[in-house]
């Protein structure tokens, strides 16, 4: 789902194909073997084999079936190796008891909760999975990755690994972490899934709304992190954004009638449509007013706007507007304006009002005040900005005051507001959340 101007090369197409097929294979294999970590290992090996063979032999007619057979065989080998290892350890353990020695296995083996849980038999499965079964398998994988008992950073890392097929190095790059920290986090996460018995299943009807909301939140975090790293050298991380968009696309494909999924995909597409213009040549973010709108991605804007319309159609009349849909609608208002001056600020202020109903946070109120300043003038905007409580430590609150004070010709006060903003560190809320070391 790339919206780059340049078409992806054959190699990237192959990688994307292997990743998509690999994800589908993983989702079903995890159900068959009842063990996500084992399935992951098997699929990773199969994917590596594909990346090795396909460029030489050509892409098979049914790539997923090819991967499925290779991954299943690999899983079978891994199970056999594991049961041999277990038998060996059990023998050693018994000998220790007899001889009274305490030369136990290395510590990590003892802590390993995986032992003794492998099934003795191995399921034979079809090499084609019916679409409705695959649909549920993907949902299972999604709900497991986004289980509320896992820390957000763990959910994100596991989703990138299993649902996006990224390597530990790629995840580390995407989350500005180290491969080592990512690897450790993934080990801990898999260990928790297995030891704590996080089920590989679609939640019951009663639990579903809450669990689906958790899934949406995780993908939203990824979209945000991909779009606006709050500090640091690269303000936009295309690789992460692309994966977040893929996930949003998957959510929408799995539940096409869900307003939240529809809205998330719309929001992602609309934000991504500005990628080419977000930064100037020095990597400094460009204000919306200064961006060259002819370089915005029209196809992404069209797709995003259509999804906003679809989301509104799916919404329940009279109920509060879905928070992601309100954000997508605001993004659509910006994307559809021919230039900054022609922006429909009235509509944007209304959407912020709607957003405040479900998300009454000071940052949303600040953004509404900025839109209000464009609609009603700097004086009204400044009054609204100053009325937002609790943002004394938020540099953008002071910076916004400075901009509006300057428009009003109040230079001295503006300079003081600028100084206050400069004295505060840049906020890093999502960074802290996503840093696997944190």
């Amino acid at each position: 789902m790339s919206h780059d101007a340049a078409a992806p090369g054959p190699e990237e197409t192959l990688v994307a194909l292997v990743r998509d097929a690999g994800r589908d294979v993983l989702a079903s294999l995890a159900r068959e073997v009842g063990d996500l970590a084992l399935a992951e290992d098997a699929v990773q090996d199969a994917v590596l084999r594909a990346l090795d063979r396909w460029p030489v032999d050509g892409v098979p007619d049914r790539p997923a079936a090819w991967l499925r057979v290779v991954a299943r065989n690999r899983a079978r080998d891994l199970v056999r190796a594991e049961s041999r290892r277990e038998a060996r350890e059990e023998r050693a353990h018994r000998e220790d008891l007899v001889t009274g020695r305490h030369s136990a296995a290395p510590a990590h083996d003892q802590e390993d909760p995986m032992s003794s849980s492998y099934p003795g038999h191995f399921p034979e499965g079809p090499d084609e999975i019916p679409p409705e079964v695959l649909h549920d398998d993907l949902l299972r994988l999604l709900f497991t990755c986004c289980h509320p008992s896992l820390a957000p950073a763990s959910q994100v890392a596991l989703a990138l690994r299993t649902l996006c097929g990224l390597s530990e190095e790629e995840i580390a790059r995407a989350l500005l972490s180290t491969p080592d920290a990512v690897a450790k986090r993934l080990v801990r996460t898999r260990q928790k899934i297995r030891a704590a018995g996080i089920p590989y299943k679609v939640p019951s009807e009663a639990e579903l709304p809450q669990r689906w909301a958790a899934v949406l939140t995780t993908v939203y975090l990824l979209l945000n992190e991909g779009y606006s790293a709050t500090a640091g050298p690269d303000l936009v991380r295309p690789a992460l954004l692309e994966q977040a968009l893929r996930l949003a696309g998957l959510l929408h494909a799995l539940r096409p009638d869900d307003v939240g999924a529809c809205a998330l995909l719309a929001l992602g597409l609309l934000q991504d449509s500005r990628r080419a213009e977000r930064l100037d040549d020095d990597g400094v973010p460009k204000l919306l007013a200064d961006q060259d709108r002819s370089r915005w991605d029209r196809a992404a804007i069209r797709a995003g706007s259509e999804l906003v319309t679809a989301g509104l159609r799916l919404s329940t009349a009279g109920a509060p507007v879905d928070r992601y849909l309100a954000q997508a609608a605001i993004a659509a208002c910006h994307a559809l304006a021919p230039d900054y001056a022609a922006t429909d600020w009235d509509a944007i202020v209304s959407w912020y009002d709607a957003l405040l109903v479900t998300d009454p946070s000071p940052v949303v109120a600040l953004n509404r005040a900025v839109a209000l300043a464009e609609r009603d003038g700097a004086e009204a905007g400044l009054t609204a900005v100053l009325a937002v409580p609790g943002l004394e430590r938020y540099p953008l609150w002071h910076a916004t005051q400075a901009v509006l004070l300057r428009r009003l010709g109040r230079e001295e006060e503006a300079a003081r507001a600028d100084a206050r903003a400069a004295a505060l560190p840049l906020p890093e809320p999502t960074r802290r959340l996503l840093d696997p070391a944190g």
Partner: protein, 115 residues
């Protein structure tokens, strides 16, 4: 089926005292309702009655100190052993323990006993 410990953190008081009879009755009601899943458990006297024990090595000198290992606002006041299909089922059970709304319940898988 997996065995879970539902570790209860709540106010550090003497739950055997008459003024806490109502709370204990709530626990009794939970024990009845979840009898199918409960494999053990206990309520504990307050941390003021605790003694922390250390030894300078196996069979070595015993060092004791008054009170719990860790002082926290909400103390470890009891636990249940629960058998459940998976974590979701265990969480659903733990949410019915009165401490879930009067404190917190930590759900942890129990290491199965070897052979």
């Amino acid at each position: 089926m997996t065995m879970y410990a539902a570790i209860i953190y709540s106010a550090d008081v003497d739950y055997s005292a008459p003024e806490h009879a109502e709370e204990m009755a709530e626990y009794g009601a939970f024990s009845m309702a979840a009898a199918h899943a409960i494999r053990g458990g206990a309520a504990l006297f307050p941390t003021a009655t605790a003694t922390t024990v250390r030894a300078s090595g196996k069979g070595g000198e015993i060092v004791t100190s008054d009170g719990p290992y860790a002082e926290t606002k909400e103390a470890l006041t009891g636990f249940f052993l629960l058998e459940a299909d998976d974590l979701d089922a265990a969480i659903a059970l733990a949410a019915q323990i009165p401490a879930a709304w009067n404190g917190a319940v930590e759900v942890r898988p129990v290491v199965p006993m070897m052979g």
